[in-house]
Each structure stands twice: as C-alpha cells, then as structure tokens.
Assembly symmetry: C2
Homo-oligomer: 373 residues x 2
C-alpha cells in the first residue's frame, strides 16, 4: 500500500461524501478567466446546467455582451479573483497562452487558496509557470479537445464540449508517485473537481501528463494547422482556376487555416519542440513520396497504403468513442489509482471517478478506506 493512501481518502471531503456514486457533477462555484470561444462556451454550459459561474475578460466588449445576455462578467481581474477566493470557487484560466503568467500571478495574489485549472492547448508551458510560482498543489491542468475556426465571445456556444475528449493532467501525482511521496490532499480534491467540471459539460475525460499531452496534440492538432496553412498557400499559388475548382478535399484540408494566425502561432510556437518532431516525420514522409513519384513508374503506393491503414484505425477508434467504450473507474487515493491513470494515458482510455460504498466492498477490486467521515 502506498503511504499516503488512507490519509488522503479520509481527508478528502469531496471524495468521502460521494461514496458509491460516480462523481459527475461539480459542487463548487466556478470562476472563468477569459471569455473567448472556450471560456465563453464553458460559462454558457455551466450556467445552463444551473451552476453558479462568473467570469473575467480583458476586453470590455465581450463583458458587455456577456452581461447583456445574463451572465456575470467583469473586466476587473482583482475584484473577480477576490470574489472567487471568498466563494472558494474553482478557477479556470481560459486566456491565450501569452496571458497565463499574469493570470497565475493574479491568482497567487488575490485567490491564494483556490484550486485552479486551465484550458490551454499546450500543457507543459503552463505547468512550468505553475511550478515556478509554487502553485502545483492546487493546480490540475486540463485541455478540452474542442474548437472551431472561430474565436472570441461571439463564437462561444452551448454544447461545444458534448462528447469531446477533455485531457486532465496528473503531473503532480505522477511526480509524487515517482518519488514515493504522498499526493497533496488539495491536489486530489482539485483533480476530482476538474473531472467533474468536464463531466458537467458532457466531455469524456482522458488523463495525460503535460509532456505526453503536448506530444499528442502536436500530431493531431498543431500539425493539422501547419499542413492546412501550407495547403492553402499552394492552392492559392495556382491562381483563380485552382480556387474555382477547389472542392471538398481542399475545403476540408484548409478549414483550420481560417483560424486567426495569432492563435495558431500561440499553439505551435509554445509547443515547438513536440511540433518539430511531428513536422520532421511529415517532411520525411512527403520527401519519400516525392522520390517514388518522380521515379519510373511513378508511385505513391507506400504513403497511400499507410495513410489509408492509419485513417481506418482512427475511424474505428472514433466509432468506438461512443457510450459503449469501456471506462476506467478510478477511486482517487486508492491503491494503484496512479497506475490506473498511467494505464489510461497509455491506452488513451476514458476515466470516471468512483468511490465504492463500504457495503459493496466485495464487488470492488480496490481496498476500502479505513475510515468514513
């Protein structure tokens, strides 16, 4: 048994009062910093589901729009965070990456005990800023895999996260596990709250440490943006006839090139190391295809076959992403729960939070805690 186990479970009120049920709703106010596409959509979803939620945004225009639509929002960051501290709210950093450091400083100053998360598309850089400030015990990183080519409050919409994958980090737990230290109790509470936040808006939670998240999104989110930009340019260089003939394959392949360049740059440049690996693999594949296409007879067999196999695997996996997909149920703090997180990360599995009732102990493989409340 890991040394921190019984202590954590006994000390975690959110876990101890949810024995026997899946923790799928959040019992805490939420404070959202940044009301763009992601933050704004989260605000709308949470309010629609009856949660007490309020937000900060730098631009007055978005705040005015949100307020006129019946949401609580303000441009005064200090006032918003002071309210978050008073209400012990879960804070969500939903600004672009360049503003994250300032948000962390403000949280440290005005909400010095609140748990917080983020929804930034690159996680290691946020983690590093959090650790620099010594805030890691109350921070759980997260990244909902949802978006459109549009941005800003006006693009925010209810239902954006429904059935989307939502990555939730466990770097602090993995680090504690590696050094045989107990996981901080507030971290576990925060983890459970952030999972519940994702579940509240209908997302499926997949755990991943920051480095593995960043490596994965370089391949399936940042690289697609880079390739879409390149395809846009090469199509455009074909002139008016090319653009007139462009149909589904070009439209789909360039769609995310319609994203504001500043957002693309923030993602790609922040995640440059992982993206370089993915980009190098891509350039190698294309150069090999170029080589076989210039040969006699011209051939793209290797790439076409490999791409089709890969796409088929992805399609099969996507089909399996529905409600029938197995869910790994975790009891935070129980034996092996960090092993389970690592297993879920490795297999890209969805997790749920579960704490068994004492009378059900025979049906649950995890050892029961020694004390209840």
């Amino acid at each position: 048994m890991r040394p921190w186990k019984s202590k954590i479970v006994a000390n975690s009120p959110l876990v101890s009062h949810t024995w026997g049920v899946t923790v799928s709703s959040l019992n805490r106010d939420v404070c959202i910093l940044g009301l763009g596409l992601i933050g704004g959509s989260l605000l709308k979803d949470l309010q629609a589901s009856g949660h007490s939620v309020f937000g900060y945004n730098r631009s007055a225009a978005a705040v005015t729009a949100a307020t006129s639509e019946g949401y609580a929002a303000d441009t005064d960051l200090a006032a918003v965070l002071t309210a978050a501290a008073k209400r012990d709210a879960l804070i969500v950093i939903a600004t672009p990456m360049p503003a994250v450091a300032a948000m962390l400083d403000a949280i440290a100053t005005y909400a010095p005990t609140c748990s917080f998360t983020d929804v930034v598309s690159v996680q290691q850089a946020v983690c590093d800023l959090v650790v620099e400030r010594g805030l890691q015990d109350r921070y759980v990183g997260s990244h909902p895999m949802a978006g459109t080519a549009h941005s800003g409050w006006e693009a925010a919409q209810e239902g954006l996260f429904h059935d989307a994958a939502w990555v939730i980090g466990f770097d602090a737990a993995a680090a504690a596990f590696a050094s045989n230290e107990p996981v901080p109790p507030q971290w576990i509470t925060t983890f459970v709250d952030v999972v519940a936040l994702a579940h509240t808006v209908g997302a499926r939670v997949i755990p991943a440490t920051a480095a593995r998240h960043d490596a994965a999104v370089a391949r399936i989110s940042h690289l697609p943006h880079v390739l879409a930009e390149a395809l846009s340019v090469v199509g455009d260089q074909g002139g008016a006839l090319s653009l007139s003939l462009a149909a589904g394959s070009y439209r789909d392949g360039t769609r995310v090139a319609g994203t504001q360049p500043a957002l693309v740059r923030a993602m790609c440049e922040t995640n440059h190391a992982a993206l370089l690996d993915a980009l190098d693999e891509t350039i190698t594949l294309l150069s090999e295809a170029r080589h076989t296409l210039a040969a006699q007879p011209p051939s793209v067999e290797i790439l076409a076959e490999a791409g089709y196999r890969a796409r088929t695997r992805f399609a099969a996996r996507s089909l399996a992403d529905g409600k029938t997909r197995p869910v790994i149920r975790l009891q935070p703090g129980a034996d092996d729960w960090i092993h389970q997180l690592m297993h879920a990360e490795h297999t890209g599995a969805v997790i749920d939070i579960f704490a068994p009732r004492p009378e059900n102990s025979g049906t649950h493989p995890n050892e029961q805690p020694d004390t209840l409340r």
Copy 2:
C-alpha cells in the same frame, strides 16, 4: 473574323435550333461506361430528370444492383456501345484511368461516330490516348469536381453534382485556334452537349484545357490527398493517446485518406508531373516553417499569415460562387468565343452557352450568323 465562323454556326444543328435560349438541357440519350460513384450518380440524376440513359459496368454486382433499382445497365460492353451508336447517344467514360484506353478502343470499334466525354480526374493523359487514336474531333474532356471518400455504385447518389464545378476541356478548339484552322463541327456539337450534360445535373461549368486543369487539380485535389495520408500516418505514430485526443482538425485533415488507395494512386500517379510541382512547393514551405520553428524565438509567423490570407481569399471566392457570380455567356462558333473560353479559364469563371435570336442582335455583342437553318 475567324475563317471557320459562319460555316460552323450554320452547320451546327444543336446550336442553330436553340437561338435565343440558354442551352441548359441535353437533347440526346446518354450512355455511361462505368457505374461507380461518379458514373452511377450521373445515371441516377439523368434518369431522375427524365433523360434516356443507360450504362455499362464491368462488375455484375453493380449491374444487378442498378437493374434492380430500375436503371438500364449491362456488363456487355460491345452490346452497350452498339446501342449507343444506334441511338446516337453521348457516351461518358466514367471508369478509373487504367480502363480508359480499353474504353476508347471499344468506342472506336462499336460506336465509331458517337460523341464522347469522360469524367476522369486527370485530363491530359486521357487527351493523349484520344489523340493517339485520332478520336479528338468528337471528344470533349470533362471532370466534375465532386466526390466523397466512398466509391462504387453503392456510393452513387442523386444530387452529387449540384452546384459543383465541372471542368470542360477545349483542347481541340485551342489547338485549332493556335494553328488558324476551323474547329471541327462535331467537336462544337460535342462541346455544347457536354456543357448541357453538366447543366442538367446542376453543375457550374468552368472551361480549362487539359494541362491547366491537371496543374490546378494537382494543387487542390491531389495534394490534399497526399497531405491527408501523411497526417494520418503521423497522428497514428503518436499511438493510442494521440488517436483518442484527435478532434475536428485531425478528422477534417485526414478525411480523404479514407479513399481507397487504388483511387488515390490512379489520380496522383497519372498526374505525377503536376503533383510533383505542388508537392515540392509544399515541402519547401514546411521546411522553411521547420527552420523558423527551430530558431529562437520559435516562429511560424510567415506560414501562418500566408495560409490565413490564402484561406480568406478562397473563402471569399467560395461565397462568390453562388448565384450572384457573373457568368460568361458564349455563342459557340461566334467571333472571339475561343478568346472568351481562354479568359474564363484564366479567371476560373463559369460559362453558359447562349445563342442570340436574330431580332435581339442589337443587344448582343457577338456578330450574328449569316444563315439560320
């Protein structure tokens, strides 16, 4: 005045009996060789619009399915083409590229006077096979820019071509123009018929010679397939976590990698020269982005800005593709009509066929023909 003008107009019954009206319907039976996605969809659309249409397919399964759904189809190519000859049908070659040569040989044998077109995604290679056989006076190449990732009769659907761009070639006319020769009368009749075929199924006609068509589709159709294959592979190489996190940008960017590899190979390998140019431009852009991303500070500014500008131009052009977009009206055989085709090719403009009534001559810039019927 070009030397062939009055002769052609006077000798072309299809043009001369449509004075004053847009030629938007086809007054001829249609014979389709190959009942896959494109040929099958064309068969369905034509029959739905009341045309007499029949087809050939090599595989008995598709013929059985089509026949059971009430369409006229047969696996006997000689019999089908003999019927086409008897009915003076317009023949449409809708097989994959590797079967085109055999179709042309069969047409030369069994339907030696019929006009014909094709719907193959690469045009120069078809043109070359046609010219090798001396069939160019009754051939007008064409390529509807419509498709899905699925193929075969089971993927055929009504409405596939609605509002799609449909390229129609004019290589024989351009060659005649260049050498100051008259355009063959049967070629003009064929051209008008193929335009009417495209209009019958709701497509917008854009003229382009085979070489320019192939250069354009390399950029906006074949390159997107190659990039989708590469993106599929690189995402897949990220393992289960990557595929679990993949969302809209990866799904859209890899969609056409779900196309059967044999079809991708047929397109890309047949159009290898033009695709190599597009692929080289892409590799250069990606290598430059790789270079700036590895620098300090990492940057993808140049590519992100250029890609966004290009996509914005494409989106604006797509919006303009609706009914408000200007249409260039041609009177086949009239003064300057080949100039107009070249202008439309250069600007990617949509064309329509129009022959003015004699009494309207004051309102039409084209000179009137000397004789009517």
